[in-house]
């Protein structure tokens, strides 16, 4: 019995991270994916904030699923989410001011992020608290992964280096040079600046996401055709 339930929890997590990835598969909550992925640091901050908020909303909504009448459940969810996001907003403003100023409007806007209400409606109001917790972790990790993929591509192409800083004390910062003068792969051979700052602009965000989605679709169709060929081969052999 115990083994069975642990298997289903890992299945719930896998669903959120891979098979039902909120960004790459179901295409939900796109605004922050495009807006704040100009640097890896932003993406990490947003992912951690969303992880905490989604776990709290999912757990609270799941715990109260039998008390809240189903006619007013959506407004109730929105208010619970707003209360939790308000706390996160105030905490980030107090302790991580640099990160807060970079993420700006998108922390309060987590309230209307489709993922919060989507998970509440699709999962938390039908399942136990523990299952909802794992669903929240899976989805937040899946979402964070998408943010990180975008941010790694955009910051590398736009700046050719990564800059990290201690979120609690922004005077401590580190820069990881990759493709520029001091990096291990020097693209400035002829003293030509090879950075494409275009990828840090809004237009670059749209185009990066488009290319990432198309690449994933291409990989998927390639895998599917391989599988189909294999099964056709097996059938022929068995004949």
């Amino acid at each position: 019995m115990k083994k069975e339930s642990s298997v289903s929890y890992s299945a719930i997590m896998k669903d959120g991270i891979i098979y039902q990835n909120p960004v790459f598969v179901t295409v939900l909550g796109m605004c922050p994916v495009l807006a704040i992925t100009t640097s890896v640091m932003n993406a990490v901050g947003m992912s951690v904030a969303l992880l905490f908020i989604l776990i709290l909303t999912n757990v609270v909504i799941s715990a109260m699923r039998k008390i809240v009448p189903s006619e007013i459940r959506i407004p109730a969810y929105i208010i619970m989410a707003a209360a939790i996001v308000s706390c996160a907003d105030q905490l980030m403003n107090a302790f991580t001011p640099e990160l807060y100023s970079m993420l700006g409007l998108f922390i309060p806007l987590i309230v209307v992020n489709c993922i919060i209400l989507g998970r509440a409606e699709a999962f938390a109001n039908k399942n136990t608290v523990v299952a909802s917790f794992f669903d929240a972790v899976g989805n937040a990790v899946g979402y964070g992964m998408a943010l990180l993929v975008m941010a790694f591509i955009r910051e590398l192409v736009a700046k050719q280096s990564y800059t990290f800083y201690n979120p609690f004390n922004s005077t401590q910062s580190w820069t990881l040079n990759l493709l520029n003068g001091e990096g291990f792969l020097n693209l400035n051979i002829l003293n030509i600046d090879a950075s494409l700052s275009f990828f840090a602009t809004p237009a670059g965000g749209f185009i990066t996401l488009s290319i990432v989605l198309a690449t994933l679709a291409a990989i998927k169709s390639h895998k599917a055709s391989k599988k189909a060929k294999k099964s056709a081969l097996v059938k022929e052999e068995s004949k």
């Binding site: 807006a35 407004p75 707003a82 996001v85 907003d89 409007l105 809004p202 488009s210 290319i211 198309a214």
Partner: protein
């Protein structure tokens, strides 16, 4: 003069969809037909104006004097959710024609981040009432403009030969990127 600069910036330079990335879900979801795009845009303008006015009054005349401005998020989202319900009921009862056009788009607006985003940025920028209303209207016009143009392109896209991996949302994002590039050009006019 300042109002003109804010309005012009909101429509073209800092376009709500292409530069501020607010309301991308509706941008991708309801822009496959020009008529849908228009209906959604007018619903957004309508709710955006009303919500900006009410949230401005509540924030400046109730929350700040009471010293509870940190509750703004809960108040704003409540206002928007009830407003959308209320507008839907009023339209259904008294203005049947408009309800037929906007009705199906209204429920989608509660979770459209453009509404909450504009209400919050009015507050953060400390705009007075007139400026907030002009800003909200111009954001709405910018939304309408981009939605309509984008829907026009996507209608033609339906019959275009597209590489298989780009079918669906990927080609739409690529197009949006090209539009965003064009709109970035407007930044030069204002500066």
């Amino acid at each position: 003069m300042e109002l003109i600069a804010i309005g012009f910036g909101a429509i073209l330079v800092n376009n709500v969809l292409l530069s501020q990335f607010l309301g991308i879900c509706s941008f991708m979801g309801v822009s496959t037909k020009k008529s849908d795009a228009l209906g959604m845009s007018f619903a957004v303008i309508f709710v955006l104006m009303l919500a900006s006015a009410i949230t401005w009054v509540l924030y400046n005349l109730v929350l700040i004097p009471a010293g509870i401005s940190y509750l703004y998020l809960i108040v704003f989202i409540l206002v928007i959710a009830t407003l959308v319900q209320f507008v839907e009921m009023v339209l259904k009862k008294y203005i049947q024609g408009l309800y037929k056009v906007l009705g199906i788009y209204l429920p989608l607006i509660t979770t459209n981040c453009a509404i909450l985003g504009v209400a919050t940025s009015n507050m953060q920028n400390g705009y007075d009432f007139v400026t907030s209303m002009v800003y909200a209207l111009c954001i709405g016009i910018g939304y309408l403009l981009v939605m309509y143009l984008f829907a026009g392109i996507r209608e033609r896209l339906a019959t275009a030969p597209i590489a298989k991996p780009f079918k669906g949302i990927a080609i739409a994002l690529l197009l949006a990127g090209c539009m965003a590039m064009a709109f970035q050009g407007f930044a030069g006019i204002l500066a």
